[in-house]
């Protein structure tokens, strides 16, 4: 087994495949393109809000398996929750990647990325969809 294979286990592959279910949202309250300028990956997110609750998340992922898998985790965890849950998600994702702190609660799905911790150059892939949603929601601050 090569050094890289641990990233591509069944859990990540399964998540990445699920990213395909993330459709577009016509009447989103915000949308945002996040680019990884080093590699050119791009995540477009669209969020529909209902007050402070996230009604739905959609968009398009043009990126590697990790970007797709991270988008799928968000898509699985966030809808129906308060928008503050996303800030929690990104904090947990960063902690998991930084020192392996296991994710908990709504974000347990992030634990699939534990093997990525040892691949520092891929951390940004996992964080890109989170940053996209964060920036997207920031666009709506004060408007609702």
């Amino acid at each position: 087994m090569s050094a890289a294979d641990d990233i591509y286990d069944a859990a990540i592959k399964d998540l990445a495949a699920r990213a395909r279910n993330m459709g577009r949202i016509e009447d989103a309250d915000c949308s945002h393109d996040a680019d990884n300028f080093l590699c050119g990956d791009r995540v477009t997110v669209e969020v529909a809000l209902n007050g402070d609750a996230i009604e739905n998340i959609g968009g398009k992922v043009r990126g590697c398996m990790l970007v797709q898998a991270a988008a799928a985790v968000i898509h699985g965890a966030a809808p129906g929750k308060d928008r503050a849950v996303l800030a929690e998600g990104i904090t947990q994702a960063r902690a998991l990647l930084a020192d392996g702190t296991p994710a908990t609660g709504d974000w347990e799905g992030l634990n699939a990325f534990t093997p990525v911790q040892g691949h520092k150059h891929r951390h940004d892939c996992v964080l890109l969809p989170f940053e996209a949603v964060e920036a997207c929601l920031a666009d709506t601050d004060g408007t609702d």
């Binding site: 591509y8 050119g40 990956d41 043009r62 990126g63 590697c64 398996m65 990790l66």
Partner: protein
């Protein structure tokens, strides 16, 4: 074993095991590091103005390097060559210095498949001066559609900038035809030779272009150095780009007179050691049998294609319709794998010891023309051999399994 391998410590030691990322950066040749180390140890001094013996010798070494690079490019005179920090800096220099004379409504033509280094400086120039950027399209397999050039040229076309060889597909541009067509209409041509230079000396005289740029780190030389060749009649009249020391004849607060080329375009202390390294790379390359190396590179390219073509999930973005050996091309090829992203491919292949590059390769307009976001690229240099193809073959099979 390929006899060049011993001249490249990282290749010989296996640290760069199956190194197929030569289009991004080749390994550095021992004759190059030897000459740079010798200069640093025994000849180091600033260049251009010192008159003590060490300084005179340093200047001679620096100018000898310029002469080597000039010979490598087929220039008549060494002073037609300007040292820059790389191909990007050379193109920016032309965009500023030559661009200074252009007026609103003038047009610059670039190829659709260019590296961003040969697009963005022109876009910036267009913004500064109100010029138009005209795009010469590529066809479905990445070849420039030269036949469209005549229709796209107007009486406001002031420069045509195209690559000599694509860093994505390996397609070689017929730069002679382009230069010839442009010359008849009095339009200068800039050739981006960043990729081509790693595959043997070039001849600006027979190409008939007006500007030619290259980078040291893609031709077995050091990083941080490149060169611009420009036709002396044009160079003579160009204003400087960067100002400072070393590029003047006289400075006063009433005004400054600029030095003649090439010094007018080399403000400040140049990267002396790197320039000497580039000269050493040029000398070393000029001593090689390029007919033989080109044949070997083509055979290996064909072997890479044979490996890729065994697999249904793989599409090769091959400008020549697979025939690696029949038409001029560089040993660079891009492929996509159904259901696998290039970064994941590179990660798995890298884990198997095979160095590839995945992404848009700084050629996003070309990616758009192909209708893909990114490709995986394998690029060869003279030290690659059948052992690399075998490792590539094995790693591809494994990657297809891991990323199934």
């Amino acid at each position: 074993m390929n006899s060049f391998r011993n001249l490249f410590p990282a290749i010989a030691s296996g640290r760069a095991r199956t190194y197929l990322d030569n289009a991004a950066m080749t390994q550095i040749a021992k004759p190059v590091t030897d000459r740079m180390a010798e200069f640093e140890a025994d000849g180091r001094s600033n260049v251009k103005r010192g008159i003590y013996p060490l300084a005179t010798r340093a200047n001679e070494s620096f100018e000898a390097a310029r002469a080597s690079v000039a010979a490598f490019m087929g220039a008549k005179d060494k002073d037609e060559v300007i040292f820059t920090s790389g191909a990007t800096a050379a193109i920016n220099l032309v965009a500023h210095a030559y661009g200074a004379g252009l007026k609103s409504g003038d047009e610059i033509m670039v190829g659709e498949g260019e590296h961003h280094a040969n697009i963005v400086p022109w876009q910036m120039l267009c913004e500064r001066k109100g010029l138009e950027l005209v795009v010469l399209p590529v066809d479905g397999d990445g070849h420039l559609q030269i036949e469209k050039m005549v229709d796209l040229i107007s009486d406001r076309t002031r420069l045509i900038a195209v690559t000599h060889g694509s860093n994505v597909t390996g397609a070689v541009t017929d730069v002679r035809i382009i230069s010839n067509m442009a010359r008849k209409r009095g339009i200068p041509v800039l050739i981006d030779g960043a990729q081509r230079a790693g595959h043997g000396p070039v001849d600006v005289a027979s190409i008939g272009c007006d500007f030619y740029v290259l980078s040291g780190h893609k031709m077995f030389g050091p990083t941080g150095i490149g060169a611009l060749w420009a036709r002396p009649e044009i160079l003579q009249d160009l204003p400087p780009f960067l100002g400072g020391g070393e590029m003047i004849t006289r400075v006063s607060f009433d005004g400054t007179d600029y030095a003649p080329p090439p010094h007018r375009f080399e403000a400040g202390t140049p990267p002396v050691t790197q320039a000497i390294g580039l000269g050493a790379a040029a000398d070393w390359m000029m001593g090689l049998d390029w007919a033989e190396i080109t044949t070997a590179e083509r055979e290996l390219t064909q072997s890479l294609l044979d490996v890729l073509n065994q697999h249904k999930r793989i599409t090769v973005w091959d400008p020549m319709g697979v025939a690696a050996g029949k038409v001029p091309r560089l040993p660079i090829l891009s492929f996509t794998v159904e259901g696998a992203h290039p970064h994941d491919i590179c990660e798995v292949m890298g884990g198997e010891g095979v160095a590839l590059r995945g992404g848009h390769h700084c050629a996003q307009p070309l990616m758009s023309a192909f209708g893909v976001d990114a490709t995986t690229r394998a690029s060869l240099a003279l030290y690659n051999d059948e052992t690399d193809i075998e490792a590539f073959d094995k790693a591809i099979t494994r990657m297809l399994k891991v990323l199934s």
